[in-house]
C-alpha cells in the first residue's frame, strides 16, 4: 500500500447541549481548526467527506447542508452515513485512488432530536421496531449474553466506567469527566438490566475533522504524520437473533485483516495504546476480545488487572472513550483522532509515553453490527 497519513485533526468540546451552535457552525469550526492544526490551506485539500445522519439532523440529505462549512465550495464532496471511522476509510481510499488529500468531517447534535426514536428507527419496521427496541435495550441483550456466557460480572463492567470517566478528567474535550466508584456505578439507576445509567455513554453534541494525505501532503503539513499501517472493516447480520452477540466475529475479521496489513503478529505486545468504541461499559472488554487483545471471556479481568489503565501495559481509552463523550457518528472519528494524537505525542495530559503503534476502533449498527479498525504508526 502507498503511504498515507493523518496529518491534522480537530474536535469540538463534547457537551450535552451546544445551545450556542448549529451543526453547521461546529463543522466550520473543526474544519478550520483541522487545517490550522495541519498547517495547510483548503488549496491543499482535494476531497471533502462529510459524515452525518438525516434523522439526527432532521433534514433529508443532511450532508448537502454542510458543504460550505466544510470548505467544499469547488471540491469533490461526498458523504458517508455511518460511523466516522467508515467516513475516514472512504477518505483513505480517495487518497489511495490518486488524490493528494481528503478532509473528513463528522457532526451530530443528539440534543436536538430524540435518540430513542432515532435508534428505534434503525430496526426492521416489520419485525423489530414495533417491539420498541432501541440502542440501549439491544445493547442490554448483548450485555446479558456476554456476561452470562463467561461469568463476567457487573462489577467488572463498572470498573471500565470508573476507569474511563476517570481518564476523561485528563481530557479537556470530554463531556463527562467523573471521579466515581464502582459502588456508584452499581447503584446508579437501572436502565435495562444489566445496564445501569453509568454503564451507558451520554448523548453528546460535537463534531470532529481530520485530514488524510499522501506523502507529498505529509511532507507539507507541519504535524508529525500518523501513518496508516493497516485498516479494515467488516459487518455481520442485521437481525440480532442471527448473531452470536457474545462473539463479535465481524470485529475479529476486521482486526485480523488490519493486523495483517500492518504486519502485526502479536497485537497484545505490539499495540501501545487502543481507543475503542465503548458506548456501554461491557463493550470495552467485549471489543478487546474481538480485537484479539485477550482470549474470549478474559476481557472482564483486564481493568482490575490494571493492564488497560493509563499506566498499564496496554492503555485503553486514555481519552475517556465513548463512555465519556458520545456524539453519534463523531465518536469513531474521535477514536481515530485520539490515536493519531498519541502517535504525534500531542495528546496532552492523557498522552501515553512512547507510543509507536496505536489502534482505533469504530462501530456502527446495533450491538456492534459493523466494525472499522485502524492501525497507526509513527513511521
Amino acid at each position: 500500500m502507498e503511504k498515507i497519513a493523518i496529518v491534522g485533526a480537530a474536535q469540538t468540546k463534547y457537551e450535552s447541549r451546544k445551545a450556542d451552535q448549529t451543526f453547521y457552525d461546529m463543522v466550520f469550526d473543526v474544519t478550520t481548526a483541522a487545517l490550522e492544526d495541519a498547517g495547510l490551506t483548503l488549496a491543499d485539500i482535494d476531497n471533502i467527506i462529510t459524515v452525518s445522519n438525516d434523522f439526527l439532523d432532521g433534514r433529508t440529505i443532511s450532508s448537502m447542508a454542510v458543504g460550505e462549512a466544510a470548505g467544499a465550495h469547488d471540491k469533490n464532496i461526498s458523504t458517508v452515513e455511518g460511523d466516522g471511522t467508515f467516513g475516514a476509510f472512504y477518505g483513505a481510499m480517495r487518497v489511495l485512488g490518486g488524490f493528494r488529500s481528503t478532509l473528513v468531517v463528522a457532526h451530530s447534535k443528539g440534543s436536538e432530536g430524540n435518540p430513542q426514536f432515532i435508534s428505534n428507527a434503525m430496526f426492521d419496521p416489520i419485525y423489530h421496531r414495533p417491539l420498541g427496541l432501541d440502542t440501549t435495550s439491544a445493547a442490554a441483550l448483548q450485555a446479558n449474553a456476554y456476561l452470562t456466557r463467561y461469568g463476567i460480572t457487573e462489577e467488572q463492567c463498572a470498573q471500565v466506567a470508573v476507569k474511563n470517566h476517570g481518564n476523561a478528567r485528563h481530557n479537556p474535550l470530554a463531556h463527562q469527566p467523573l471521579e466515581i466508584s464502582v459502588e456508584e456505578v452499581l447503584r446508579s439507576p437501572k436502565v435495562a438490566d444489566p445496564l445501569k445509567l453509568l454503564d451507558c455513554s451520554p448523548v453528546s453534541d460535537g463534531a470532529a475533522a481530520l485530514i488524510i494525505g499522501n506523502e507529498e501532503i505529509a511532507r507539507k503539513a507541519k504535524t508529525k504524520p500518523a501513518w496508516v499501517k493497516g485498516v479494515a472493516h467488516c459487518a455481520e447480520e442485521y437481525f440480532l437473533g442471527d448473531r452470536d452477540l457474545a462473539n463479535p466475529k465481524a470485529l475479529r475479521d476486521a482486526a485480523k485483516r488490519a493486523y495483517q496489513m500492518a504486519g502485526i503478529r502479536d497485537p497484545r505486545r505490539e499495540i501501545d495504546v487502543a481507543e475503542v468504541y465503548d458506548a456501554f461499559s461491557y463493550m470495552e472488554p467485549l471489543w478487546l476480545e474481538g480485537l484479539g487483545l485477550c482470549d474470549p471471556g478474559q476481557g472482564g479481568q483486564l481493568t482490575e488487572s490494571g493492564l488497560t489503565a493509563m499506566n498499564g501495559a496496554l492503555p485503553v481509552n486514555p481519552s475517556g472513550g465513548v463512555l465519556s463523550a458520545h456524539a453519534l457518528l463523531v465518536a469513531g472519528l474521535a477514536r481515530l483522532i485520539e490515536a493519531s494524537l498519541q502517535i504525534r505525542g500531542e495528546a496532552g495530559a492523557h498522552q501515553i509515553p512512547g507510543v509507536k503503534t496505536a489502534l482505533a476502533h469504530g462501530t456502527h449498527g446495533p450491538c456492534g453490527q459493523s466494525h472499522c479498525i485502524w492501525i497507526l504508526g509513527e513511521s
Binding site: Y127, V191, D193
Partner: protein, 154 residues
C-alpha cells in the same frame, strides 16, 4: 472569552417531522404474518444449502445467498428457550407496554436463529435457559405483536 449570547438572544426553533409510511411486507413477511394472524402459527423457512432454519423466514440465506423461496417452510415453536434477556426499567413512548417488561432472544423449538420478542411478567423465574411459550393476542391484525408475548413455563 466573550459569548455572543451576552449580546443577542440565542433563539431555538421547535419542529417535528411526522412522516407516514406504508411499508410493503412482501411475500416472505406476508406469509409469516398471515399465519400468525389466521392460524396462530409461527412459520420459519430453511436454507436449501446450509439447512439453517430462519424465523422470521427470509427471502434468502444471508450466509449462502441461496434463494429460499417457498418450498421448505415449516412451523416452529410455539415453545422455545431464552438465550438472552433484559428487563427494561426506563420507559419511552415507543415501547408497546409499560415498564418493567423484558425483551428476550428466544431459540424457538425447531429454529436455528434467535427470535426477539417480549415477556410481560415472571421476572423472578427469568434466566437464560428457561423455557417459554408464545401467547397469541385475542385481536390479531397481521403484526409481530399478534404474539402478545412469551410466558415462562418452568
Amino acid at each position: 472569552m466573550s459569548d455572543w449570547r451576552d449580546e443577542v438572544e440565542a433563539l431555538t426553533l421547535k419542529g417535528q417531522i411526522k412522516m407516514p409510511y406504508t411499508w410493503s411486507v412482501g411475500e416472505t413477511g406476508s406469509r409469516f404474518l398471515v399465519a400468525l394472524r389466521d392460524e396462530q402459527k409461527i412459520l420459519a423457512n430453511r436454507c436449501p444449502l446450509c439447512g439453517t432454519v430462519y424465523v422470521p423466514p427470509r427471502k434468502n440465506c444471508g450466509t449462502c445467498f441461496a434463494d429460499i423461496g417457498t418450498d421448505d417452510w415449516l412451523e416452529v415453536g410455539p415453545e422455545g428457550v431464552v438465550t438472552a434477556f433484559t428487563i427494561i426499567h426506563q420507559a419511552h413512548p415507543l415501547q408497546p407496554l409499560a415498564t418493567p417488561f423484558a425483551y428476550a432472544i428466544i431459540q424457538l423449538d425447531g429454529a436455528d436463529v434467535g427470535f426477539v420478542h417480549i415477556l410481560k411478567d415472571g421476572w423472578d423465574r427469568l434466566k437464560n435457559g428457561v423455557r417459554v411459550r408464545a401467547k397469541f393476542g385475542i385481536e390479531r391484525n397481521g403484526r409481530i405483536l399478534d404474539i402478545d408475548g412469551f410466558e415462562i413455563l418452568t
